[in-house]
């Protein structure tokens, strides 16, 4: 397999000869600004316009424009390195924690500029919860894990009730009600991840960001988390990053497909948004050839 086949193919990853041959005829990707915003979304919880993130001098993801619907599940899919996690981390300003990260463009949360001068990133994260790739419970008891957020926020009311309600919403209450004082590290991986979801729910967030929440879990635990997401979307808007297309198809209402490109100097990999729309359409009638190839399993 010669490398020059790939230089115009734009998809930067290891591919088989057959795939490389297919891609040779693929169009060079040119994503015009605002192309992929889904205008059908009313009352969006997030709107991004030409959102770009770079680490140091190298851009990681360029010109993402989309509208995330309220009380729906939006899935970000695409191959590794396509910037889907980077984008989701703009929604709660998690990228602030990486000193070299620079965010350009606009992110609006209910119409409010999330990166405005008057916005405190700590306040943002109180409204927008996050669940991470690997379960990351604190080395504390189950109870204290849940109580952490409410305590930090100084929430009023009975802590016991807050904890019970959060665990019930994450359908974990029956599993753990008799061992709330046990260390969370004694739970199974799936339970730990549901604990992390419960922990995020305890502060009553408006949005739940999930960054590949099932990548470290077995299929049964994954199924339980997906069921849980269906229940939760009654009350919160969910954005989920996943590299599992079936998961996106199963759980999400809308899907955004990202790819990773070489930049012109062929040194940096840049993520781009290719297509965004209702999940049914993305999976059955994709407009872009690269989306079609990805969702039909030709690469990724």
């Amino acid at each position: 397999m010669s490398t020059d086949k790939l230089t115009t193919g734009a998809i930067v990853r290891e591919v088989s000869d057959q795939e490389a041959a297919d891609q040779k005829h693929a169009p060079v990707p040119v994503v015009a600004h605002h192309d992929v915003i889904d205008e059908t979304v009313e009352n969006p919880v997030f709107v991004t316009e030409d959102l770009s993130v770079s680490y140091g001098s190298s851009p990681a993801v360029l010109d993402v424009s989309l509208r995330i619907a309220e009380k729906e599940i939006t899935a970000f899919i695409g191959p590794s390195g396509c910037g889907k996690s980077t984008i989701i981390r703009c929604f709660n300003r998690m990228n602030d924690l990486i000193p070299a990260a620079r965010v350009e463009g606009m992110v609006r949360y209910h119409g409010l500029d999330l990166y405005g001068d008057d916005i405190d990133s700590v306040q943002v994260r109180k409204r927008i919860g996050m669940v991470f790739q690997k379960p990351n419970p604190f080395p504390k008891s189950i109870y204290d894990n849940i109580a952490f957020g409410p305590k930090v926020l100084g929430m009023s009311g009975s802590m016991d009730e807050i904890v019970e309600q959060a665990l019930r919403r994450a359908s974990l209450w029956d599993d753990v009600k008799d061992r709330l004082k046990d260390n969370a590290f004694g739970m199974s991986g799936g339970q730990q991840q549901r604990l992390c979801i419960a922990r995020a729910l305890a502060t009553n967030p408006d949005v739940l960001l999930m960054d590949e929440p099932c990548s470290a879990l077995d299929p049964i635990s994954t199924g339980r988390i997906e069921d849980l997401m269906h229940e939760l979307k009654e009350t919160v808007s969910i954005v989920i990053v996943t590299h599992n297309m079936q998961q996106a198809a199963r759980v999400s209402d809308r899907t955004a497909f990202f790819i990773v490109d070489m930049d012109s100097s062929e040194e940096a990999r840049i993520g781009r948004l290719v297509e965004y729309g209702p999940t049914d359409r993305i999976f059955t009638n994709p407009h872009d050839r690269r989306t079609e190839e990805y969702v039909s399993g030709k690469f990724g």
């Binding site: 000193p99 990351n136 926020l153």
Partner: protein, 318 residues
Amino acid sequence: MATDATTSGAGGPNAESVFGPPRRRIGEKLIAAALFCAAATSVIITIGIVVSLTGETLTFFADKAVSVSGFLTGGQWTPLFSDPEFGIRPLVQGTLIITGIALLVAIPLGIGTAAFLSEYASPRVRKTVKPTLELLAGVPTVVFGYFALTFFTPTVLNSILGLDVSVFNGLAGGLIVGVLIVPTIASVAEDAMSAVPQSLREGAYGLGASRRQVSVRVVVPAALSGITAGIVLGASRAVGETMVVLIAAGQVPTTSLDPRNPMETMTAFIGATGKGDVPTGSTGYKAIFAVGFALFVITLVLNTISIRFVRRYRQVYE
């Protein structure tokens, strides 16, 4: 044993026909032996120290002028008098007071430094401050001792703070020993805090915690076993520190609790007496070993407690 027939029974292949003739690895064995000797050295030396300490201590207690109960409970330490008293309490008390003062200084400074370096400092600041801190740990303690005696006591304690302390006093000794062990505590605690997985911090930040809340409620508790190990290591150094207390704290074994007065620690007694004119084999000479043995026991107890504590609270992360 029917199954054996298929794997290693007669008629099956033997190891040599599959893997070739066995190679002798003499070099490998030599290296293993040399490394074992290196590892064994410290164990052997420790055993040697314990044996010699124990032997001399036993002959000390065999002396007619000495009784075990008088040694442990007596409030007078005058081993070189013509009518000697061997009550170790003043020395233990001096050691504990000076260690206590040192820890009062070093625990907040050390953990504060560690938290700053691990949670607040930019990578560039960390790259500058941490080596500087470790440089401080390399300053000879005799330098600290004279700093305490000739600058800290007269200028800081007397002139600036107006504390009216003696030329030799436990306060200066304790405070400067505290400064001395800050790098130990800070360095070990910083390592422990830096080892807390980033995912835990992200989890807390994701819940709307501020930097201070993340540090205090997540990082410090998660690093508690390492921080404790650092404190105990620092305490052991303070207990064993000789030069600073010998120079700055004086050599007056006293039961006074006032740190403005001169006091003598166990190590200072050993240092002062060992370099002096005590005839080898005299009871005063043997007292050095008895005090050394007591010091050894104290540090051993301290380390054992800390190991238990560290094991109990250690969190294992993937």
